[in-house]
Amino acid sequence: MITMEGICKSYRIAKRNAGLKEACKSLFHRENETIEALSDVSFTIEDGEMVGYIGPNGAGKSSTIKILSGILTPDSGSCIVNGRTPWKDRIAHVREIGVVFGQRSQLWWDIPVIDSFELIKEIYSVETHDYHHNLEELTEMLNLKELLRTPVRQLSLGQRMRCEIAASLLHNPGILFLDEPTIGLDAVSKLAVRDFIKKRNREYGTTVILTTHDMQDIAALTNRVILIGKGRLLLDGTLDTLRQQAADLEGGEPSEELDKIVAKLYRGLDIL
């Protein structure tokens, strides 16, 4: 179970205008702006739930994932994942979670994928039997057979992404945080990844939290959607709630196309 209670986090950002003069000026005087990345965010997620976490660029989605995975300490508020505070008990906490950061890589750039997998097996002390069983299943579902022996630097983005997802699941985590996992995937891979996440959730009861800009991911995977904008939690409900809210805001017929609904919401709630 995951509970977040009044989580706040702010960043200080040094800002300046363009140009050499401005750059020199900033050597002596910095203008800092404090940005509330998250203010008073609270929610609860039960075991086995699949939740879509959406919001416009810079809304605070990644910050939330970072806090949940224990690599960012919030300014205030409490967060309990399986009875632990992630940033206080990092090592015990991360053993039970799997994380995919769509923008980053956990695979060793120079050597074949399978070497990275073997390392992950050791890091998480996965039993050899379980590891082979998992690897086989992942290889088949994500179609990795041809990729495993290739050095990571020679994979395309989508191929690498599939390997990244597999790498995050080798230790059978009970909770999975996916930060834009479908970036760069072709249609076939996208469907494969979605099926795969669904199957994982069905068979192992894996809790999944997913951030994405691809509304089809949300529609295919999640019943519950949490909408965040400018660091505030604005909506927590089903896709139908989302539709309804959009219709209420703008009036008129509820639109069918998800992207349009979301765009309406972002504009209507003034969070862009």
Partner: protein, 268 residues
Amino acid sequence: MKKYISFFKIRFQVGLQYRSASIAALTTQFLWGIMECAAYRAIYMSSGMEPPMEFSALVSYIWLKEAFLAMFNTWVTTDGDIFTVIMNGDVAYELCRPVSLYRMWFAKSVGGRCATAALKCVPIIAVSVLLPRPYRLSPPRDLVAFCFFLLTLFLGLFVTVAFCMVVYAITLFTISPQGLRAVLTGAVEFLSGAVIPFPFIPQPVRGVLELLPFGSMHNVALRVYSGSLAGGEMLRAVALQVFWIVALVLLGKAICRTAERRIVVQGG
């Protein structure tokens, strides 16, 4: 422990991946070694003073320094991947591992250094024992000296890695390693005796240098091999190495712990 050994292993595998880079580096180091020997030979022949080190001991010092250079490097691209993950934010993944960041990086660094050194020391030593007389690498003074050479070599490696870990931990705050690296490149080279072996440096500067952590890096092992450091003086040097390992590890861990709480992995 097994986990950390596997970091060592994978870093070793990366080290074996690029063959042409190794060959290129090997050539450079080999030519550099010959040049250094020749330069010192000119100094020995032209000056009337009593040399502080036998020429054969100096030649051994130079060849072994080249052979094990990768173990004691505090500059170039050794551990470049640690700087890279800090700069590009992949450190986020490193923090998602159920391992201590400090120990993981320590193991990686030791692994990478040993891999590179293992690849390079064999050809360099093989060639340098076959060179004509004055430039030849001589055998160790005796068996005891050789055993102490191996011991101090690894102690020196740990001092170097423990020192670098302090640098990496600081980099977690500064993000860009450029400043620190620029200072270190020149300073550590000189302070560790890689440019001029310690016996050539006059007192009292030499005494100070020997006490600094940099003096506990490769200086000890290379001088033990040829017998330029022996007996009580050698044991004192070993004790000092152990002291610096403990001190630098404690310091590095403390900075790392603060950093883990304070760092913000930027970007999406």
